[in-house]
Amino acid sequence: MAKAADPRTALPGQRSPLAMGAGILSPTALRVGSTVVLVVLWEFFGRRVNPILFSYPTAILRAGVDLTASGELPRAILTSLQNFVAGFALAAVVGVTLGLLVGRFRLLEYALRHILDAFYVTPQVALIPLVILWFGLGPPAKIFIIFLVGMFPIFYNTADGVRSLGRGLVEVAEAYGASERQQFREVTVPATLPHIMTGVRLGIGRSLTGMVVAEMFTATSGLGAITVFYANTLDTARLFVPVIVLTLLGVALLQLGLSLERRFAPWKETERAW
C-alpha cells in the first residue's frame, strides 16, 4: 500500500493537487469526494437491480441495523475476532521462533527449509476438509487454519531477515565482548525486527482470508458463516453486511500492521549498508 501522499511531493508526471488551482483540493477532500460519488451512484443504480442479485447502501444499512439489534452481527464479529486473535498470535509466535532458528542455524535450515517450502506452495485452504476431520466444526479448526496461513509469511520474512544481516553490527557486538547468545539477543533479533514486522503485516491479510474461508466452509459461526447463510436464503442486503464489516476489519488490521512496522523500525528508511 502506498504511503499517504503529501501534496507538496507529487510524483513526477503527476500534477500536485495544489497546482490544480484551489487549495481546498487536499488529498483528504478528494478521497471523501470520490467515496461520496461512488456511494451515490451505487444507491442510484443499485435500486434498479433485482434485489436478489444486488443491493444498495440504504438497504444494507437497514439490514445492518436489524442484524445488530438482533445480536447476530455482534456475536459473529466477536467469534471471528476471538478466533483471529488466537490463531494469529499462534502464527506470530511460531513463525518468529521458527524463522529465527532456521535463519540462524544452517543445519536446521537444511533439515527443514524444503519441507516448509512444500507446505507453503500447497494451497493451504485445500487442507480445510482435513483440518475439519481433525478438529471438528468448532473454533479449533478455524484457529488452526488462521494459524497455518498466517504463519508462513512471518516465518519466511524472519528467516530471510536473519540471513540478510551483514556481519557488520554483529562484529561490533563481538568487539565489545558479546557472547554468541548476547550477539543473537542484542543484535540479530532487534536488527531483524523490521523484517518480522513486514511478515506480520503480510500474515494479517492472509490470516483474515483464511478465517473467512474456514468460516464459510464450516458454516457454523462467524462473519463468513452469516455471509453463506444469507446467500443461501437469497437475502442479498444482509449478505453485504458481513462483507462490509470484513472490509473495514481488513483496513483496520492493515493500518495496524503498517503502524507496527513504522513503530519498530523508525530507522529503516535511513539505514546504511550494515
Binding site: 563481538e174 568487539a175 565482548g177 558479546a178 542484542e186 539505514e271 550494515w274
Partner: protein, 261 residues
C-alpha cells in the same frame, strides 16, 4: 605494554600480514599510516579479538588473554552504532553486556556522552544526528569501558574536512585527561602527524612496517602547528615512505633510516 610478535594472517591463501611485529608503550598515541588494503584493519581486528592470527603472539603486559570490550575497545570507521538504540543505550552497550545495573550504566554512559559533547542528545537515535556526532557517540561507547587500549579504525575518514579537524582536537583533549594507549589507523599523513606521538608507516599487502617515527611535536598542540617547519618536514618524510609503500614491497627493499621507539 602491548606486544605483537611475528603475527601472520592470510585470507584464502593470500598473505595479508607476514611476521608482523609491533610494540606499543603504555600511554603512547600511535598512528598506523598506510595505503588501503595493506592490512591495517586486519591488524586491529586481530588486536580486539575479531580475528585470530594464523601464527604469532599478542600479549598485553606480558599476558596473552586480551579481553575484547574490556582491555581493548575498537571505534569503527562507519561508526557501527546500533540504529535501534538511542545514543544513551548505544554508549551503555558494553556495560550492559557485562551486567552493569541499568541505573548505574546510564549514569556512567551519561558522563561520557557529556565528555564528547553530546549532552542533550542521549535520547536521539543514530539516524537523527550527523556523522560527526555519530562518531563522537562511537568514541563515548568505547571510552565508557575504560579500556587499556583504544583502537580506532579510520574513525574520521567519513566526515567532512572541518568536522574532522574539530574531532581531532577534541580527541586529543579527551586523550590528554588520562593518556591511555591509542592505536589510531589512518591513511592521512596530516592526521597521523597531528595526533600521534609516534607514526608507524605500513606498506603492503602483505602488511609490513616501512618506517617508525617519533614526531616529538609539543603537546598540547599549539595553534598553527600545521604550518610549522617541523610539521612540514615530517609530512615530507612520511610522503616519501608512503610512496615506497605499494603492494608487495618489503622494508628491506627501501633505504631504512627511521628510528623505532
Amino acid at each position: 605494554m602491548l606486544s605483537v610478535e611475528a603475527v601472520c594472517k592470510q585470507f584464502d591463501g593470500r598473505a595479508v600480514l607476514v611476521e608482523f611485529d609491533l610494540r606499543v608503550e603504555d600511554g603512547q598515541f600511535v598512528c598506523l599510516l598506510g595505503p588501503s588494503g595493506c592490512g591495517k584493519t586486519t591488524l586491529l581486528k586481530i588486536l580486539c579479538g575479531l580475528l585470530t592470527p594464523d601464527r604469532g603472539r599478542i600479549t598485553l603486559n606480558g599476558s596473552p588473554g586480551i579481553r575484547p570490550g574490556v582491555d581493548v575497545c575498537l571505534v569503527f570507521q562507519h561508526y557501527g552504532l546500533f540504529p535501534w538504540l538511542s545514543v544513551l543505550d548505544n554508549v551503555a552497550f558494553g556495560l550492559k553486556l557485562r551486567g552493569v545495573p541499568t541505573a548505574d550504566r546510564q549514569r556512567r554512559a551519561q558522563e561520557f556522552i557529556a565528555l564528547v559533547g553530546l549532552a542533550g542528545f542521549e535520547g536521539h537515535y543514530p539516524h537523527q544526528i550527523s556523522g560527526g556526532m555519530q562518531q563522537r557517540a562511537g568514541l563515548a561507547r568505547a571510552l565508557v569501558n575504560a579500556p587499556e587500549i583504544l583502537l580506532m579504525d579510520e574513525p574520521f575518514a567519513a566526515v567532512d574536512a572541518l568536522t574532522r579537524e574539530r574531532l581531532q582536537e577534541q580527541l586529543l583533549e579527551i586523550w590528554d585527561r588520562d593518556r591511555k594507549t591509542v592505536i589510531f589507523v589512518t591513511h592521512s599523513m596530516d592526521e597521523a602527524i597531528y595526533l600521534a606521538d609516534r607514526v608507524v608507516v605500513m606498506g603492503g599487502p602483505p602488511g609490513a612496517v616501512m618506517d617508525d617515527v617519533l614526531t616529538g611535536l609539543p603537546r598540547p598542540r599549539p595553534k598553527g602547528i600545521r604550518g610549522s617547519d617541523e610539521y612540514l618536514r615530517l609530512m615530507g618524510q612520511l610522503r616519501r615512505r608512503l610512496e615506497e609503500a605499494g603492494p608487495g614491497r618489503r622494508p628491506e627493499e627501501t633505504a631504512h633510516d627511521g628510528k623505532g621507539s
